[in-house]
Amino acid sequence: MNRFFSLVRRDVSLAFRQGSASTMVVMFFVLTVTLFPLGVGPEANILQRISSGVLWVAAMLASMLSLDRLFQADFEDGSLDLLTLGSLPLEVTVLAKCLAHWLTTGLPLIIIAPVLGVLLHLEPSGFVTLMITMLLGTPTLSLIGAIGAALTVGVRRGGVLLSLLVIPLYIPVLIFGVGAIDAAIGGLTERPHLLVLGAMLLGSVALCPWAAAAALKLNLE
């Protein structure tokens, strides 16, 4: 357990030192979202209609932006070899790296999302649900992304390939994330959507580390 947290602490403090990953993700999120009022026009009712979808799609792309470095930095300098050599099972190592990735990219997105919601005239009744869906959804994105990152770890400029692998798997999260916000705005109950999002999170906590660890083992051979 100590090693798990020392790995999380290392990754988080590395991300803070380098600073670029979190800032880049947040800036990307902000900039893509601001493009929409400029592109579709400032009409409040149109923006209101598309706000939940825009926020989720932009958040998804932003969190994908830093995925290619998830294992690659450690792969390139030989750290990944040694991380697998320790007594920590590789699956747990993957989980630790996902947690660190979420803390440095997912969490900043959740904090900035309501501000951008204001920009897009998101209905006031949707804000709380937006936060909850992001809280449930972004860790799932990090976990699913870890599979793609593990598969492409040995590939030069694997970022594009990574997106192609990961985007299809992100679709369910997007559908239920947006569905919950729209239900809340429309006065319906958002509970079923949130339950599905929660189920997807639990499912990916259970399955993704195994899949990613298997992919990493293949790449380390």
């Binding site: 090693r3 290392r10 030192r17 300098d77 030989g78 750290s79 040694l82 051979e221």
Partner: protein, 214 residues
């Protein structure tokens, strides 16, 4: 306590790297791997560390209580591996790099373990320098300090002296000698003299006509 391999056959990309290879190291002993480039020294070390799976044969680790362990996944944690790459994070200082590995590799007191290891590899004066400013030789010394910062019985060293100066090679030789004196085991592939007196040598055949597996 001992570490051995039996009838190891390794196939990489349909080419047989070596066939029916065996080795054995006892506590306090060192095994020196010799052979020309491409003869499979690195492959053997990566196989011994469990990064590669042998096509045939198995590794056996005998614990200090005499029990034999044939599953590399369970005894890997007793192995230190120094490969071609130096796991040094550019954003961390020398000390922070070492402190992380010291703790992660099982030293209950990572701080003092790291300080001691820095001292042993003569890195104390650059303890606060970020990894990105290190020279190749300093990075290599930091990597070697890493294996001194947490105790493990088996050391697998793949050309550990690359880019080290004479003084650092002497420090490395001293480190290896002390490890052996404490009952540690060393398997090393190296072309220079690291003071491996009374050690056994395993000569790997040069890669001749590729022998295809299929």
């Amino acid at each position: 306590m001992s570490f051995s391999g039996h009838n190891l056959t390794c196939i990489r990309g349909e080419r047989v790297v070596f066939r029916d290879l065996g080795f054995s190291v006892e506590p306090g002993n060192a095994l020196l791997l010799r052979g020309p480039n491409g003869s499979g020294k690195s492959t053997l070390l990566r196989l011994a560390a469990g990064f590669l799976k042998p096509e045939q044969g198995h590794l056996t680790y005998t614990h200090s209580d005499g029990s034999e362990d044939r599953d590399v996944e369970t005894f890997r944690e007793h192995i230190h591996y120094v490969g071609h790459l130096d796991p040094v994070k550019p954003a961390f200082t020398v000390f922070e790099n070492l402190e992380f590995w010291s703790g992660f590799e099982g030293n209950p007191d990572p701080k003092s373990g790291a300080e001691e290891a820095l001292d042993r590899m003569a890195l104390t004066h650059i303890a606060d320098v970020p990894g990105r400013y290190l020279s190749a030789g300093q990075r290599r010394r930091l990597n070697i300090a890493r294996i001194a910062a947490a105790k493990k019985p088996v050391w697998l060293l793949d050309e550990p002296s690359v880019s080290l100066d004479d003084a650092s090679v002497a420090l490395l030789a001293k480190l290896i000698a002390d490890h052996r004196a404490e009952g540690g085991m060393v398997i090393a592939a190296t072309h220079i003299d690291l003071g491996f007196e009374s050690s056994e040598t395993l000569v790997l055949a040069p890669a001749q006509m590729p022998e295809y597996a299929l």
